[in-house]
């Protein structure tokens, strides 16, 4: 093959997703003039931040070879917690309690998967209704809201620094911290090892049970961070607001190219996946399509992304 053409092809293959993303932006903006305005872009960045923060945790989870289906319920639970506790014990204790609740649920999942060696998908499929039920029992099924919607707590979800929305700053910082943990720390390297070959890493002296345990704790923590941002953005909490988040987050991470089979993936990829899904959802609305058409798009995207992942891996090996 001609060398230049060969190079181009490999660039398309390796950076295909970024190219697809740019293509998507151009096509939608062609049909919807207001799509690529500064205001709309900032809006999308704010909207994707909650999903993005959670996706950082789930990226760890997938690299370690597991998945957590209960993060949507965890998001509902922590949002309801932080909102209902805000007026009772003050904003900072409320945030701490919500984060602790996320960590506790993650630790429970992590114990069952890491130490008891249960299948993560099935355990967390069971935790999904359990945590949702805890949310409903805690709130009594009622809608919670914070008395003063202008309270300082709202800065996390609605504030801006230098015109950049606060949720996006949190997302960006989380992504950078997680990328550093993944690339530069022993834990990050061990995570790839456990996800790639659990038994092998165990023989190499890695405590795979603790590594798995911590991926669940971290995911619980990011779900709780999502809950805090969500509560602060809405200053109220509806009991089912986290429903279907697990699927959105999973689609974003898998679309980014983190493998479902563990052992490979990265935070940068996830950020791209999150942005694509966010702009796609927003673009669909700009194009005047009803919200449920996004569900169809998600179906195609997830299957296509995983299929591509498998094909590329086959060609490499």
């Amino acid at each position: 093959m001609h060398p230049v053409a060969g190079n181009l092809l490999s660039i398309v293959k390796r950076q295909g997703l970024v190219l697809a993303f740019i293509f998507l932006l151009v096509v939608i903006s062609f049909f919807a003039p207001r799509f690529l305005t500064f205001r709309n872009v900032l809006l999308v960045l704010t909207q994707v931040s909650i999903m993005g923060v959670m996706a950082c945790g789930v990226t760890f989870m997938l690299i370690g070879g597991n998945f957590d289906l209960s993060i949507g319920s965890q998001l509902s639970f922590t949002t309801v917690l932080v909102v209902s506790l805000h007026d009772k014990i003050g904003p900072i204790p409320a945030i701490l309690v919500a984060l602790a609740a996320g960590v506790a649920i993650g630790a429970f999942n992590g114990y069952l998967v890491g130490f008891q060696k249960l299948t993560s998908l099935i355990v967390t499929l069971g935790m999904l209704p359990v945590v949702q039920a805890l949310t409903l029992i805690y709130s009594g099924g009622n809608y919670n809201q914070i008395q003063n919607p202008e309270a300082p707590f709202s800065f996390i979800g609605r504030g801006k620094i230098l015109n950049i929305p606060m949720p996006f700053i949190i997302f960006a910082v989380t992504a950078i911290v997680f990328a550093v943990i993944l690339q530069k720390t022993v834990f990050g390297r061990r995570l790839y090892a456990v996800g790639g070959n659990r038994v092998g890493s165990w023989f190499a002296g890695v405590r795979d049970d603790w590594v798995t345990f911590f991926t669940f704790v971290i995911t619980g923590f990011t779900a709780a961070m999502g809950g805090v941002i969500m509560g602060s953005r809405l200053m109220s909490a509806q009991n089912y607001l986290g429903k279907d988040y697990e699927l959105m987050v999973l689609s974003a991470v898998v679309l980014g190219g983190t493998s479902l089979y563990g052992g490979s993936g990265g935070i940068f990829k996830t950020v791209i996946g999150v942005l694509i899904l966010g702009f796609l959802a927003n673009g669909f609305i700009h194009l005047g399509l009803p919200y449920y058409t996004q569900m169809l798009a998600q179906w195609v995207i997830i299957v296509a992304a995983v299929w591509m992942d498998i094909k590329v891996k086959k060609e490499e090996s």
Binding site: L112, Q116, K117, L118, T119, L121, I122, V123, L125, G126, M127, L128, P129, V130, Q132, A133, L134, L136, I137, G141, D244, L247, L250, S251, V254, L260, Y261, P290, Y292, T293, Q294, M295, L296, Q298, W299, V300, I302, V303, V306, W307, I310
Partner: protein, 313 residues
């Protein structure tokens, strides 16, 4: 020579679902006088038939080492298709509904066997996508059946047995018979036990797995028909969370998530146990929030025990 006590423990280990069934039945009958009446038991069996039909397909899939979490969405889609078409012709509605179920089973099956995408992801994506289709098809509204005769199908009785229970029983017996007595059924266990070895033995496993997915979709459509006929209406949110209840009942029946184990009679016991617990909690006026919690905890407990028991064997 084993002592009598340890033999009983062995037996319980082999048949935990019957023990759970008996324990929950006796517990509920102690707590409520209305539970252990003939009417209520008949009611439980009738209510369980939809779950039971779906659980047959899921058991087949799980024996061969796969599973499908899009069944709740597919239930809603097939019920919506059935109800919307009965206005034209009931036989046409039934045929098209069954084809619709088999078609989406085939889509999942092809993605799993040909594209080699993990069954969990394929069906998770289908769970969202098919639900999207339900919204597109129903335009987010509920559909009300226009043919009163359609309603009579599931309300009918042969002798004193309701039609849904007969449908469930026939499917169950056919499935159990083919699992035990046919090459087709034996190969399901072989594929679940060791797919590579089965392939080397010359079994076209892709075709088998595809057929299990198609059968599963078909059976979901049967359940969708029964549900549609019982309600003579369909709402777009029908069947949300049903996939978990189906998987709970099958796992409770002792089918291993890793494949190679399980049978239909125990699945039936699992379905009846779940039906009984749901019914019992209703009779005791337990709030929906708490029954959700209890079902989830039972599910996790069952998987935990499943893992512990298979580890000690």
């Amino acid at each position: 020579m084993k002592s009598k006590g340890s033999r009983i423990i062995e037996m319980i280990k082999g048949q935990p679902v019957w023990v759970i069934l008996l324990v929950s039945a006796s517990l509920f009958s102690l707590l409520s006088n209305d539970f252990l009446t003939f009417r209520n038991i008949a009611n439980i069996v009738l209510q369980s038939s939809i779950l039971g039909i779906m659980a047959v397909g899921m058991t087949g899939l799980m024996i061969s080492g796969y599973f499908d979490i899009s069944v709740g969405s597919l239930l809603a889609l097939t019920a919506a298709v059935a109800v919307s078409l009965t206005g034209y012709s009931i036989p046409l509605a039934i045929v098209l509904t069954l084809l619709c179920g088999a078609f989406f089973g085939a889509v999942n099956g092809l993605l799993v066997t040909k594209a080699k995408v993990n069954a969990f992801i394929v069906t998770l994506a289908a769970m969202v996508g098919v639900r999207g289709l339900v919204y597109v098809y129903t335009r987010e509204r509920e559909i009300i059946g226009l043919a009163p005769e359609f309603e009579k199908l599931a309300a009918g009785k042969i002798g004193f047995i309701p039609v849904p229970v007969i449908i469930w029983a026939v499917i169950l017996i056919l499935a159990e018979w083919s699992l035990r007595r046919t090459v087709y059924g034996r190969n399901a266990y072989a594929i679940g036990g060791d797919a590579d070895a089965t392939k080397n033995a010359g079994v076209p496993i892709d075709r088998y797995v595809l057929s299990f997915f198609v059968l599963n979709g078909f059976l979901v459509a049967v359940a969708g028909l029964v549900l549609a006929s019982r309600l003579n209406a369909a709402t777009p949110i029908l069947g949300i969370g049903q996939e978990m209840i189906v998987i709970i009942s099958v796992v409770l029946g002792g089918t291993k998530l890793t494949g190679g184990f399980g049978n239909m009679i125990k699945t039936m016991a699992g379905v009846l146990t779940i039906g009984m617990i749901q019914n019992g909690l209703n009779i005791l006026n337990v709030h929906h929030f708490y029954s959700m919690l209890i079902m989830g905890l039972i599910f996790i407990f069952v998987i935990f025990m499943d893992a512990k028991l298979s580890a000690t064997k």
